[in-house]
Amino acid sequence: MSGPTSVRGSVAKWALNIYALLALIYLFIPIAWIVGFSFNNPRGNYNVQWQEFTLANWREPFGDEALTNAFVESLRIAAISTAVATVIGSLMAIALARYRFRGSGTLNFLIVLPLTTPEIVLGSSLATLFLDWDVTRGFTTVVIAHIMFQVSFVALTVRARVRGFDWTLEQAAQDLGASPVRTFWKVTFPLILPGILAAALLSFALSLDDFIITLFNAGSLNTFPLYINGSFRVRFPPQVNVLASAVLLISVALMIGGMMIGSRRKKSS
């Protein structure tokens, strides 16, 4: 930025930078606690008081059986719901970004609504539906609930990514004799795939982490967050921190990988 720089101006500038830095540090305070306490050797059932450094928890990340089962259950739910929601949501996103049609305003509104409804209303209303149907709440109802909020999320994320897409490329492919189906798989799909993958990753994370909606629709099922909440009164094993840190590490690795692929694409094109 150009313009005259005075002493007062540069002091203000540095004050703002330091403020921003403090905000960034604030974001990491609980993360430091979570990762740090994964190396703690707790006395008793509660891993909240620092005792001594140990690698034992990381050597046995699945040392707590009930916790591991709940974690696996969460992964299964996230895998199924993300697969379904990504397909359904991406179709919606393509329809909204690609075509102009009657009723698109109402459809947009319907898609935004679930994201502007408090989770407790989503969770409790869906639970009343299952009560009304006399359906026992468990694995299936949780998957249904997750797909519901993921569909909206995927549709909006993919639509935002697809907005800048040059649809005349499709026209070009068809002018050169490609069938619409071939055009989609050879031209459109590869170009919008990164947006779809990013949306799928984020909605996988949303499912894995969801607590409020899941609590209302899980019945006796235990997911990772539900198990932590349910057992918190009695125990808080260090494996919770280990698994949480591992999820964090994997997410960061995937994010960095995605960024590197993205920048390589930009360079090559």
């Binding site: 930025m1 313009g3 101006g9 703002l16 403020y19 921003a20 905000a23 960034l24 604030y26 974001l27 990491f28 609980p30 606690w33 979570i34 909240v48 397909v87 359904i88 179709l91 919606m92 329809a95 909204l96 690609r98 075509y99 049609f101 009657r102 009723g103 698109s104 898609i111 935004v112 502007t116 408090p118 989770e119 209303v121 409790s124 209303s125 869906l126 009343t128 539906l129 009560l131 009304d132 797909i147 519901m148 569909v151 909206s152 639509r159 982490d209 607590f211 409020i212 609590l215 209302f216 967050p225 932590i228 918190f232 919770v240 949480a244 999820v247 964090l248 997410s251 994010m255 960024m259």
Partner: protein
């Protein structure tokens, strides 16, 4: 884009987009009605058959019609699965919630509620849980203001001074939120504990007296005070504020600021009259994304608060899952949603922008 293809074949289907729209809307409404059990027994079977017929009609029109008809009907076909899912698992539950909120439990231990236009549930929701409603909206409002105060400068610095490290810095903002929401809140609980790191640090640097006098600490403790609950809400919803503000700041052309300064505007005035108005859509979206979930949250109040800081989410959760008073919990949920909707409508009228997403 609308008039791409030429009419080389005579159209076999008239007004295909109307077929598509009718099939989509009709199937959605019918499925929501069946889900909410407006139709029961044979009527429900008829309604489901109609939903199926609408789908077949759509497919048939696409197959029988020419390429132009297919192109016009395509968006409705693509939207169909998602719309039906939302009709059945978003719209129908809200209708059921409303119906159950007007029902009564025949006895204290009954599971099945009976619909009876029971408005008493709403009276109870307001009279018995007034303080919880007030706290929910008060805490959520304070937390939203705090997320703007913390998040805006951070988004600003990343957008305008981040340079080539922009995406790295933005990544750093997102990273903490790849750990579980619940565990992050438990982390704060442990950190704010009476003999936890933060209270001990404040005691050591003799700041606890000051914090006590401005109301941040209460009898030497932070945990189980409103401050802890609001702090937790602020922390947990911060990225929902930072990201939209960043997105709108990123779109601001820095040359606009240069232009303002070339015209002898001070940098403060340039910010106030150029950057700030252009970033308002981000602040608007961030406010909705923070305030709405914060008002319905019960995790922070449960882990960081005390019985005197419970929010309406705690009460709904308790009535629904512990006391098994589903009608009352439904009425409370419905009131929460109604108040939020009204607040959002008022807010969008005064600060709203066209582009929400």
């Amino acid at each position: 884009m609308t008039a791409v293809s030429t009419q080389d074949a005579p159209e076999r289907v008239r007004r295909p987009e109307l077929v598509g729209l009718a099939a989509l809307a009709g199937a959605g409404v019918l499925l929501a009605a069946v889900g909410a059990r407006w139709f029961t027994g044979p009527l429900a079977v008829v309604a489901l058959a109609l939903v199926l017929a609408a789908i077949i009609w759509l497919v048939f029109t696409a197959v029988a019609g020419g390429p132009e008809a297919r192109r016009r009907i395509a968006p409705y076909g693509l939207l169909k699965p998602g719309t039906l899912w939302l009709a059945l698992f978003y719209l129908a539950p809200l209708v059921t919630l409303l119906r159950l909120s007007l029902s009564t439990l025949p006895s204290r231990f009954a599971v099945e509620a009976e619909f009876s236009w029971e408005f008493q549930n709403y009276v109870d929701a307001f009279t018995d849980f007034g303080p919880q409603f007030q706290r929910a909206f008060l805490y959520a409002a304070v937390a939203t203001v705090l997320t703007i105060a913390i998040g805006y400068p951070l988004a600003y610095v990343i957008a305008f001074r981040g340079g080539r490290y922009r995406s790295l810095l933005l990544g750093l903002v997102v990273v903490p939120f790849f750990t579980s929401y619940l565990i992050r809140t438990i982390a704060w609980r442990s950190l704010l504990n009476d003999n936890g790191e933060i209270v001990r640090f404040l005691d050591a640097v003799r700041l606890s007296g000051l914090f006590e006098s401005i109301g941040i600490m209460d009898n030497g403790r932070i945990l189980q005070t409103p401050v802890a609950v609001i702090g937790g809400l602020t922390y947990n919803f911060l990225p929902f504020m930072i990201l939209p503000i960043y997105v709108s700041l990123e779109k601001v052309d820095p040359r606009l600021v240069d232009a303002a300064q070339d015209l002898y505007s001070t940098s403060t005035a340039a910010f106030r009259r150029v950057v700030l108005p252009l970033s308002m859509p981000g602040v608007f979206a961030g406010t909705l994304l923070t305030f709405i979930p914060a008002a319905g949250d019960f995790v922070n109040a449960f882990y960081l608060g005390s019985p005197s800081t419970t929010m309406i989410g705690n009460s709904i959760q308790d009535q629904f899952l512990v006391q098994n008073n589903v009608p009352l919990a439904s009425a409370m949920s419905f009131v929460l949603m109604a108040i939020i909707t009204v607040l959002v409508l008022i807010y969008s009228k005064y600060f709203g922008t066209e582009d929400l997403s």
